[in-house]
Subunit: 415 residues, 2 copies
C-alpha cells in the first residue's frame, strides 16, 4: 500500500516554516506498513492543487493532505477539494457543536460566522474528529485513491492521525509488515564504517536494505525489511544485527528507542539510580533541554546553572576569579571548576561543565572560534577534554551537546 | 524565474529525518526573487530519480537537489545524474586536493579510495566548492533547466548555497524583485484579526498577497509583493503596513527580523541597558536557550537556574519549603519566589520564574495537566499569571516559552 504526503502552503515554499508534519505522518504510516513514495509541497493555489490531485489520482492508494483548512481567505483547500470531487459543502452538526463548545469554554469569546463555517464539509466526506482544534479532518475516495485532508497545525494534525486515521487504516486495509532496526554508533565516520562492514553489506539479502544516516559526531545505520511474514522478517533482521555487532560492536552505542544519546544516558542513570546536572555557558541551556526531552528524566536530572555571564560563573557557580584570570574563561580549568561546582551545588553524582567559543565572535579569550572544553565531574574526580568543533555556531553547539552526552556515557560505563 | 527543490533520501520518506534543507534553500532563493513552485522528496531510487528529472525538465528554470552524495552504497545521486545527462565521471583535481587536505588535517586519518571517489564529477558539470565538507556541489544544464546537486548535510549545503549558488544566480540571471513584510501580533486569534482587517484585506491590490501564519499564542501576517520595480513595490508594501497598523496597532508587537519575541525583547533590553535571567522548571532550559539563540544576547541575558528537582528549588534557588507545602510546587507563590530568587542571585533587572505541569503526568500537585504559572520579577516588584496551555506536552512548553517572553516584554514597556 502506497501513500503520498502533500502539504499545501505558500509559507513553506518561501522557507518561512519548516514542514514537520510530513515526517510525522510518514513515520506513523511506516509503522503500519504503508510506504510513502513521495512528499510534495505546493502553494495555496487552486490550479496547482487540482493538477496535483489529478496527477496522483490512481497512482497511489493514499494521499494525505495538510494545510489550508484555516478560517482565513488564503485557506482554499476545502473548496478546492469540493471542486475536484464535484461535491458541495454541508454543515456537520457534530463538528459545529464541537466548534461552538471550544469557543465558549476555551477561547471564551463570541463565535463568528467564519468560525462556524469550519463545520462545513464535502457531503461525500467522512469526518475525522479534531479534538485539539476546530477544523475537522476529512476522508474522501475517488477511484483507487483515498484523499485525506488535515489541518496544518501540528498538534491538531497529530491528534487526528493518531486517534482517527491510523486506527481506520489498520481496520480497513491489509498491509505488509515492515521492520526497521536502527543501530547508533559513535566516534567513527560513515566511510570508515562502510569499509569495515563491506562484506557484510554485500551479503545482505534482497529484501533487507541498509542506509547510513550521518550526523555531527555520530552515524546511525538503519536496516529495513518488508514482507508478509512478520516472524521471518524479524528473525532475518535480528540475525543481521547480531552479525553486524560482531564486526563493529566496539563503536555501537545503542539501538532504536535508545537511538538518541540522551535516552541512552537516561536509561543508564535510571538503572544505577544516579543523577546528573549541568553548568553551561556557550550551549545556553541546550544540554539541559536535551536531557529533559526524555520522559521520566526527573528521575535522574536535577537541574542546571546556565552561567552565560562571567560574573554568574564566579558568583553563582563559584568558579575562582584567579582561574579565569590565569587561563581565560574558555579553558580546561574553568570547565572543570564549572562541572565540580554544579555537582556540589546541585548535589548530583555526575555533572557536565562546558565553556567555549560557539562563534561567530570570541569575546575576550585567546582560544579560536569552535574551541570548546567539556568536563564531566564523576563520583571520584573530574575529566576534561578540548575540542575544535569548527563552524558555524549551530554546529558547534550541537556537537558540544552530543559530545558532552557521549563523555557522560563513557564515564558512567567506567564505573 | 521558477525553481523546484528536490530532496533525495529514504530516511525522509520514513520520517526519520525532518527536511530542513528545503526551507533554507527556498528562503535563500526567495530573497533573490526566485520563486519555488514546488518541493519534492523522493527515495534513493534510480527509476524514481530519473522519472522526476524527466517530469521537471523544461517545466521550471532551476532544480536544486540535495541528498545522496555521500560515500556509501545507498548514495546514488551522482551516478544517476550522469545517466540522465548521458555523461561520465572524471576526477576534479581541485576537489581531490581539498578532500585529501581535509582528511589529513581535520580527520587526521588515512584516506581511502571511496573518499577519493567523492572527487569524481560529471564531465559537463561546473563544480561548486564545499568548504565545510568533502562532497562537491555540481551545476549542470539540459534544455531550459539548470540542475544543481548538493550534499544533504545541512552545514555543508548552506555553505555552498551561500557562497557559490546565490552569487552565481545573481550574476547570471535577471530576476524580479520580491518584498515580504511580516507583522507579528500577539494575543488574538487569526479569525478575529481577519474580521478586524476584512475591508483592508479586500482592498489590497492584485500584486500584494496576504498570508496568515498562526502559532501557539501568536499570529504572523505576511504581505508579499513581486514585480520589476523595486521602489514601487517597497512603497506599496510600506503604505499597506502603515494603514494596517492604523487598524490593529494595539496587537502589533514587531516586524520582520524582530518577528520573534526573543529578538523583540533582546532589542528592548539592549536599548535600556537592562538584563534578564530565568528560573525554569517544566520548560527545562528552553527559555534560556531561546533567549541565547539571538546573537548579542550576552549583552542582556546573564544566566538561568533550571530547578527541575524540588530540592534544587529550595536549596539552590531558595524557594521557601513552607510556600511549597502550603501551595504545592505548581503555584503562583512558588513562581513568584522563583522569579525573585533568580533576580537576586543572578543580579538582573528582570527575571522569569516558571512552574507548571507540562504533562503527561502531574507529579504531586493538585493542579491539572497544562496548568502553568509564569512570574516576571521587575525592578519594582513581581507579577504572576496562571495559564492553562492544554495538551500535549510540547505545546505546553512552547506556549510557556512564548507567553513568558510576551509577559517580559509587557513589563519592560510599562517602565
Amino acid at each position: 500500500m502506497t501513500a503520498v504526503i502533500l502539504t499545501i502552503g505558500d509559507e513553506i515554499l518561501i522557507g518561512q516554516i519548516t514542514d514537520t508534519n510530513s515526517g510525522y505522518i510518514a513515520k506513523a504510516l511506516d509503522k503500519i506498513g504503508i510506504r510513502t513514495v513521495e512528499m510534495l509541497s505546493i502553494g495555496d493555489d487552486r490550479d496547482q492543487i487540482l493538477d496535483t490531485f489529478g496527477y496522483l489520482q490512481d497512482k497511489v492508494d493514499l494521499v494525505i493532505i495538510t494545510g489550508g483548512l484555516g478560517p482565513t481567505k488564503d485557506d482554499i483547500t476545502k473548496k478546492t477539494i469540493c471542486e475536484y470531487f464535484n461535491d458541495h459543502l454541508v454543515v456537520n452538526p457534530d463538528v459545529l457543536a464541537h466548534i461552538e463548545d471550544m469557543w465558549r469554554n476555551l477561547f471564551k469569546r463570541e463565535i463568528s460566522q467564519v468560525n462556524r463555517d469550519q463545520a462545513l464539509v464535502p457531503s461525500s466526506s467522512t469526518v475525522l474528529f479534531n479534538r485539539y482544534g476546530t477544523a475537522p479532518g476529512m476522508w474522501l475516495q475517488k477511484g483507487q485513491t483515498v484523499f485525506i485532508s488535515l489541518p496544518g497545525v501540528p498538534y491538531e494534525m497529530k491528534g487526528i492521525v493518531e486517534h482517527e486515521i491510523i486506527p481506520k487504516l489498520v481496520r480497513e486495509y491489509d498491509r505488509p509488515y515492515i521492520v526497521h532496526k536502527t543501530i547508533l554508533t559513535y566516534g567513527v565516520g560513515e566511510s570508515v564504517i562502510a569499509e569495515r562492514i563491506e562484506d557484510w553489506e554485500n551479503n545482505l539479502p534482497e529484501f533487507i536494505k541498509l542506509a547510513y544516516l550521518p550526523a555531527p559526531g555520530r552515524v546511525r545505520l538503519r536496516l529495513t525489511a518488508r514482507g508478509k511474514d512478520k516472524t521471518i522478517i524479524e528473525n532475518a533482521i535480528a540475525e543481521k544485527v547480531t552479525s553486524l555487532s560482531g564486526i563493529i560492536g566496539d563503536i555501537i552505542v545503542g539501538y532504536d528507542d535508545e537511538e538518541v544519546l540522551e535516552a541512552v544516558v537516561g536509561k543508564l542513570l535510571t538503572e544505577r539510580k544516579q543523577s546528573v546536572s549541568t553548568a553551561e555557558s556557550c550551549t545556553g541551556g541546550k544540554i539541559a533541554q536535551t536531557l529533559t526531552s526524555i520522559p521520566g528524566s526527573s528521575q535522574y536530572y536535577k537541574g542546571s546553572i546556565v552561567s552565560y555571564a562571567e560574573e554568574v560563573k564566579t558568583e553563582v557557580l563559584g568558579v575562582s576569579k584567579q582561574t579565569i584570570e590565569k587561563h581565560t574563561v574558555v579553558s580546561a580549568e574553568v570547565a572543570k571548576e564549572m562541572a565540580q561546582s554544579a555537582q556540589r551545588i546541585l548535589k548530583t553524582d555526575y555533572a557536565i561543565g562546558i565553556t567555549g567559543n560557539a562563534g561567530p565572535t570570541t569575546d575576550d579569550t585567546d582560544k579560536g572560534v569552535g574551541i570548546v572544553f567539556i568536563a564531566v565531574a564523576t563520583p571520584d574526580g573530574v575529566v576534561v577534554e578540548e575540542f575544535n568543533f569548527g563552524q558555524p555556531r549551530d554546529k558547534v553547539i550541537d556537537r558540544s551537546v552530543n559530545k558532552s552526552l557521549e563523555m557522560l556515557r563513557q564515564e558512567i560505563l567506567k564505573r
